[in-house]
Amino acid sequence: MGQQSQTNIVQELPTILGVIGLFIIASLYWTEPGWEGALVIRNATTLSLPFATIITVGLLIRRHARNIIRREETTPYDAITIGSAVLIVLLGLVGGMADPTMAALYANVNVIGTMAVISAISISVFSPMIRIYRAKTPIMGFLILLSILALFTYTPIGEMIHPAIPRLGDFVQIWISGASDSAFWISTYIGAVALITRMILLKERLRP
């Protein structure tokens, strides 16, 4: 019996530590400027995150290396991923984040990637909007009407068609969307408190 309860405590330890850590860090919300203990724990936890990152970067490189060894069809992609990861890691180890080569390379790669994603967003947004005309539900149809209204509100075309259009769009944005956004967050935060309550009662776990 004693051994069983000891096992249970060990199993629940990650969740118990998680709840304690959560409350210590949450206390920074109602203490000004924040008490020393909470700040130390927060900083220590933040500093420990790179260790997890190192492990997972290792796993990332291992996975792509395996693909190359197995001569998968993704070999060029794998080679680029490993090459860039190893290069950045080496540069970081030699000169740190302040190294000019590292900084320039990181910034440029980041810019290219971000540009690619943003460009893809601007193209991709239209496609689901068009597809929605074959909409699955009336609600999704209503959503596309609101999207068109927003487009007309924030581009000159709405004003050109009729001055009432941008005013209607502003009304929807400020009152209806504003209220919906508040409802979304309030319900989420109530749900978050409920989740914390369940964690305190050890009904939600950070370990399977």
Binding site: I25, E32, L60, S124, A194, I196
Partner: protein
């Protein structure tokens, strides 16, 4: 800063703590008084398991992507909000892994949070073990990219190459960039189950997903998946708080409209 301002600031902070404690006590009370309550099922859970079955029929893998949701402790609201998703989404991942193990479906995950990637390993491994097929768990299918852009591009590349039979994207993606992944998945005919933390991301999900859920539901997934009556009672207790808040809004609106307050 004057003394009055300091007092006001202190009151606001105590107020925040007071609201939290009041909510906590109501929910704690509900865990006793509302035990045995039956809850309707939520689409996220049913649709996620349906997504596994769709993948089984197509013979393609399933994408489970949480974006940058994870174990953040950086100490401001977004960090704490995303932290709340950890137990919920991991329980869903375990349930998906269990179903996938039975049906022989490969599950590929994606996240930009290193801690979450390691925790995903534990929950997926347990899920496949519970299915009776632990050998079907592939550790290298837990994909971690330290950057959101890399994760997005990698997801899109796989969506076209593999392709995925279905995707469950419950978590937080970066400022509508999720639509790029949704679009790639939709182009390949994948079933999409999506529920994001942020409202603007969720609006993208509404445009493309077959089943959409809200963050409030996603936080509660662990309770829906559990047979334990206590989490379900706490979940039902949320309605007490909501009724109270709605009543305050209505009464306050009437009083303000009447010029009383």
């Amino acid at each position: 800063m004057t003394m009055n301002q300091l007092v006001l600031q202190a009151l606001v902070r105590v107020d925040v703590l007071g609201v939290f404690i009041a909510f906590f006590l109501v929910l704690l009370g509900a865990s006793f008084t509302l035990r045995g309550v039956s809850l309707r099922s939520i689409p996220t859970v049913e649709a996620s398991l349906e997504a596994v079955r769709a993948c089984s029929e197509k013979g393609n893998p399933l994408l489970f992507d949480t974006g940058w949701t994870g174990a953040n402790f950086w100490g401001h609201s977004s960090g704490l909000t995303t932290l709340c998703f950890v137990p919920a989404t991991l329980e869903l991942l375990r349930a998906i892994s269990r179903e996938s193990g039975k049906l022989g479906v490969r599950v590929i995950t994606g996240t930009t949070n290193a801690v979450y990637a390691l925790m995903s390993h534990d929950f997926m491994q347990r899920g496949f073990a519970e299915s009776g097929h632990p050998e079907r768990f592939i550790p290298t299918d837990i994909r971690f990219y330290p950057d959101n852009t890399a994760l997005n591009l990698s997801d899109v590349e796989m969506a076209h190459r593999l392709p995925f039979g279905a995707a469950v994207m419950v978590g937080g993606h970066n400022q509508t960039s999720n639509v790029v992944i949704y679009e790639a998945l939709a182009t390949e005919g994948a079933m999409i189950v999506a529920g994001e933390i942020w409202p603007n991301d969720n609006s993208m999900a509404a445009l493309a997903a077959d089943y959409m859920s809200f963050s409030e539901e996603n936080i509660a997934i662990g309770s829906y998946l559990s047979d334990d009556p206590v989490p379900k009672a706490i979940l039902a207790g949320e309605d007490i708080i909501k009724v109270f808040l709605i009543a305050i809004v209505i009464i306050g609106g009437i009083l303000a409209g009447a010029g009383v307050w």
